[in-house]
Symmetry: C2
Subunit: 227 residues, 2 copies
Amino acid sequence: MTTTTRGFATIQQRDLVNQIADMLTEALLKGDFAPGVHLAEAQLARDFGVSRAPVREAARLLESRGMLVSQPRRGFFVRTFNADELDDVYDLRLCLERHAIRLLAGKLTAGMEAALSDQLETMRRVARNGTAVQQIEEDVAFHRMLCEFSGNHRLVRVFDELCHEMRFCILLIGQLYDDALRVADTHEPILEALRTRSPEAGEAALDYHIGVAQQRVVEMFRERAKG
Amino acid sequence: MTTTTRGFATIQQRDLVNQIADMLTEALLKGDFAPGVHLAEAQLARDFGVSRAPVREAARLLESRGMLVSQPRRGFFVRTFNADELDDVYDLRLCLERHAIRLLAGKLTAGMEAALSDQLETMRRVARNGTAVQQIEEDVAFHRMLCEFSGNHRLVRVFDELCHEMRFCILLIGQLYDDALRVADTHEPILEALRTRSPEAGEAALDYHIGVAQQRVVEMFRERAKG
DNA sequence: CGACTGTCGAGTGTCGACAGTTTGGAGATT
DNA sequence: AATCTCCAAACTGTCGACACTCGACAGTCG
C-alpha cells in the first residue's frame, strides 16, 4: 500500500476504466455472461451509466488478460475455454512453480518459511469456515508466495495471468473442493520439502500436488463440456 | 495467408489502432523515444493525423505488451528496463524453453526436425548477408519453433511477450552479434540433443546456449546503464 | 424452388469537444 | 539566491455524435 508522508493511504485514483474492469471481471467470474456471448459496448455503457470510451478501454484490458476476445468490427466476446487450453494453463503453471521452487530452495529465509507456514494456517482456517471463493483465493495466495519468494518478478506477473484464467475455469465448473481441509493439507509436503532446501524434493512435491489438481480440474471441465 | 476460394488474399482489416500500434512499436524499437519519456496522446494524434481515441487504444495495447507504462492522469511513458528486470526475463525464458524442450523431446517428428534444421540454415544465411534485425528475428524464430512444437499454445504466447521485451532491450543496446555465424552455430547442439530424444541433453544444451546469451546481454545492458 | 440483391437495424471505429488535473514557469517573498 | 505561490498552458479522462460496416431478412429474378 502506498502512503503519503503522513501515513494516510493515498486516495486510490480509481478511474472509471478500472472500476468497470473490476465489475466486469466480477460478473464474468460470477458467471453472469456465458462463454462466447457478445458484449455490446453501448449496452454495457448504459448499464454502468457511462459513455462507451471507458467501457472500450476496460474491455481491452480484459482482453489482454485473456478473459475476453475481440474481433474487428464485431466487438468483444466472452472468452471460451476448452479442456485442452485449460490443460495448457496448468502445464505452464507447473513449469513456473517448479522454477520458482528451484530458485527458492537455495535462498529460503526464516521469514519466508514463516510466511508460508502462516498462509497454510490461513488456508486451514478458511477450509473450516469460509466460502469456496475464499478457499480458492487463499490457495492461490500460497502458490503466489512461492513465485514471489523466487525473486523473479516477471514470473509472478505471468503466474497472475494464469491464475486469472484458472479462476475463470474453476468457477465455471461450479465447485472444486469437496474436502477443503484435505486439499489444504496437501500443501504441507511442499513446505516440508522446502525446509530441507532440496530443489528436487520441492519439485517432486509440486509435481504431485499440481498434477493431482490438474487432472481433477481438467477432467471436471471436460465432463462439463459434454453434459 | 488466408485466401478465398478464388485465391484472392483476404483484405486485411487493419484498423487504425493496429496500424498505430505497429508504427509506435517500430519507433520504439528504432529508439526514437528514450526510455522513460512521456508520450502525449494529443501530440501522437497530430503526428499520425488521427484523433486521440485510436492512439489511446494503441498505447493501451503496447502497455499490455510491457513496452509502455501508464500512470493515472499522467499518461503513457516509455518502459524503462534495468538489468535486473532483463535478467528476470531471460531467466523466465530459459524456464519456458527448458519445458518446451522436455515436452518436445518425447514427440519430435521428422517434419519438426526438418523445420528446425531449415530454420538453422536460414539463420546461417542471414548471418552471412543480413541485417542485425534480421539475424535477431531468425534467431527468435528458431526458439519460437521449439515452443510451438512443444504443443502448449499458452507457453508460446508468454514466450512471444518475453521476446517483445528482449528485442526492446537488445536493440536498445545497439548491436549484439559480433559474429552472427558463430552464434547461429551454437544452436546446433540443441538440435543435436533433440535428435537423441533426450530431454536431459536438450535441457543441458539450452542451459548453455541461453546462459551464455543471458550473461552477455545483461552484462552489456548493465554497462550501457552506467556509461 | 433456389440463389442473388437491396434494405434496415444494430454496433463498432473514429472524431471533436469539454471539464478537471497536472506541470512548468513567472513573479513574489524571505 | 533560494523558496514559495499562483497562474496559464498542456494534457488526460470522459462524453456525445456521426459514418461506416456487418448480419439478417425480405423481395426479386432466373
